[in-house]
């Protein structure tokens, strides 16, 4: 219950911020625009014609769900990377705010354990990420499903994957904020993790091109630990477009990302428990 109270507190704080209000308005406006301006003609299950703002769009006539695959795939990539970057910027100061003088003393004086405060903050941010991603992907599914009759749940799963990836990045941001109470440094950490995640995606290729030495070893060590975000984005895109996936590998990728997140949260917890306020 106490954990839920911390999560609710963070969500209240998020609701008061213009960043999230702007995101909600932008997503809603985009979905409404699609709803009102997109005309899709479906003949016997095939998407035969598309009009956007009354202008015909040239495309092939294919089964509607096949024709919509690239749309869901692109939307999934936008949600993944857009959500990741937006989340890094918009959530950077949740940690520092939690630790701000006056507030942290007040919170630690309450009958709430420190780990509950930390986990509540993390889960609250994760819930925001899930909410945003599912709202965008779900809205798109509803709009396109209503117009074509093609109903699919995969884009929602893809959105959850995007939120999970952001969770890994945010765990690092939170851990750093517990050492240095700075929103800027927290955001920079998030960006560094995103870049490392991209490098980790192409780790093998890049290492093959590097000369033996300390730099290569350092690069190999760092990128072995960070979840390969590019691969996660590809999996999210493949899920959204119903493309074939290797199930065993996905499970390892997801579990690996969860283990990385948990490791950073443990580091954050270690620092939080030992810190004097």
């Amino acid at each position: 219950m106490k954990l839920l109270a911390v999560i609710a507190d963070l969500l209240r704080e998020a609701a008061a911020r213009r960043w999230f209000l702007a995101l909600a308005i932008a997503l809603t406006a985009l979905l409404l625009l699609l709803l009102t301006s997109l005309r899709l003609e479906v003949v016997d299950g095939a998407l035969a014609a598309t009009r956007l703002f009354g202008e015909p769009l040239f495309h092939e006539i294919r089964p509607a769900d096949v024709a919509l695959r690239p749309v869901f795939q692109i939307a999934s990539q936008v949600v993944f990377w857009g959500g990741l970057l937006f989340g890094v910027i918009a959530c950077a100061d949740f940690g520092p705010t939690l630790l701000s003088p006056g507030r942290i003393e007040f919170l630690t004086a309450l009958p709430v354990r420190r780990w509950e405060l930390l986990l509540g903050t993390f889960l609250g941010v994760l819930l925001l990420a899930v909410g945003g991603a599912v709202y965008a992907a779900g809205g798109l599914v509803l709009v396109l499903g209503g117009k074509t009759g093609v109903w699919t749940g995969w884009p929602l799963l893809s959105a959850l994957l995007a939120a999970l990836s952001f969770g890994a990045v945010y765990a690092g941001m939170l851990a750093v904020a517990l050492w240095v109470r700075s929103a800027a440094l927290s955001a920079a950490t998030g960006m560094v993790l995103v870049v490392l995640g991209l490098l980790a995606t192409h780790r093998r290729t890049m290492m093959a091109a590097m000369d033996e030495g300390l730099g290569r070893m350092l690069f190999g060590g760092l990128t072995a630990l960070v979840p390969p975000l590019g691969r996660m984005a590809d999996v999210a895109g493949a899920l959204a477009s119903s493309a074939p996936l290797a199930p065993g590998s996905i499970a390892r990728l997801l579990l690996g990302t969860l283990a990385f997140t948990a490791a950073l949260l443990v580091v954050a917890g270690y620092r939080f428990e030992r810190k004097d306020f």
Partner: protein, 355 residues
């Protein structure tokens, strides 16, 4: 005391990071795609261009009779197909198909079903090895045109005792009377040692030789040399195609009504790719035909999926109709060789094989 409390946290973090590194050490997460990546025939490829140029021969000129002007070189097969007019002609590159994996499969089927004393053997006895000597087979509404090397052919064995009549410079027409069980007279027309025309009309037989020897008015060509790409190609009217496919309702009617001609190209060098370019005089009708065909493909896919035929459903995922401009559209289908082989597996194991 503090040191002891510190270690569990750091140990847990280190263990979790190690676990993460181990778990993330994975091969590719995206499964190898089972979707076909089949090259579709859309234009002449270099080898086909060479083949096309090698087949062009000078148009014969004659002193007698008014010679048609302006056609310096011709592909005798295409000329023979266009003789006598018409709107439909399909050519099968037998030799190219024979040496393709698909040809091997089809041949395997034929041998398995026909046994040793097959039609192939009968033809070989007459001096034609269909697998070696036949280059192309063309089909038109007037008859059948076969090109190849017929120097060793024993025509008497093949066509019977009927006396051939010489026509033109290189033509020879043999009227083969029908068998006792009925039928019509077959006119077998040889042109040199490289072309054989089989039809049911003496006029058609003469017009083929006339066209090949550049005599009299020339019919507009059904197929141009630069359309000879793929292992099967041709131009068919919409109504002929609907009839040939046995489709009388739904999209068959739409096809017959909208398409003035359908240009077909089938690539079977490895996988099978088919492109059908549909042209019509009424752009709106062709656009509607595209929607009807797209709908038929989508419905076929749904039916395949509902019937548990995931492979067909997967293949139909990638069948597409591409609307063009000015009353044109293109239908594309792809079949990987593995799928064709699986589909033809039944004929390599004839029903009585186990007896």
């Amino acid at each position: 005391m503090r040191l002891r409390r510190r270690w569990p946290w750091l140990l847990a973090a280190a263990l979790l990071l190690g676990l993460a590194a181990w778990l993330l050490w994975t091969p590719d997460t995206l499964a190898p795609t089972s979707r076909p990546q089949v090259e579709l025939p859309r234009h002449l490829r270099p080898a086909e261009r060479q083949r096309m140029q090698a087949r062009l021969t000078p148009v014969p000129t004659f002193d007698a009779g008014p010679a048609a002007m302006g056609v310096p070189r011709q592909d005798p097969m295409l000329t023979a197909l266009s003789a006598g007019g018409g709107s439909s002609a399909v050519v099968l590159e037998v030799n190219a198909l024979r040496y393709s994996p698909l040809g091997e499969l089809l041949l395997g089927c034929l041998v398995a079903r026909e046994g040793r004393e097959s039609a192939l053997e009968s033809l070989r006895k007459a001096g034609i090895d269909p697998l070696q000597d036949v280059d192309r087979v063309g089909i038109t509404e007037h008859g059948l045109v076969v090109s190849g090397d017929f120097r060793k052919t024993q025509w008497a064995t093949l066509l019977g005792d009927a006396t051939p009549q010489t026509y033109g410079d290189k033509g020879s027409i043999t009227a083969v009377e029908p068998r006792a069980e009925g039928g019509s007279t077959l006119y077998a027309t040889r042109w040199g040692d490289s072309l054989l025309y089989l039809g049911t009309s003496a006029d058609d037989a003469r017009s083929v030789v006339d066209a090949l020897e550049n005599r009299g008015p020339r019919s507009p060509p059904i197929l141009q040399p630069d359309q000879t790409y793929g292992e099967m190609y041709g131009v068919v009217s919409g109504s002929d195609l609907a009839q040939a496919l046995g489709e009388t309702g739904g999209w068959g009617k739409a096809l017959a009504g909208a398409a003035s001609s359908v240009e077909l190209h089938l690539d079977a060098r490895r996988d099978v790719g088919l492109v059908a370019e549909v042209s019509g005089d009424d752009a709106a009708k062709v656009a509607d035909l595209g929607k009807t065909l797209g709908g038929a493909l989508a419905m076929g896919r749904i039916e395949a999926r509902a019937g548990g035929d995931a492979e067909t459903a997967e293949l139909l995922d990638f069948a597409r109709v591409v609307p063009g401009r000015d009353g044109k559209l293109s239908l594309e289908l792809a079949l990987p060789l593995e799928v064709v082989a699986k589909r033809l597996a039944f004929c390599r194991n004839p029903p009585d094989a186990g007896r």
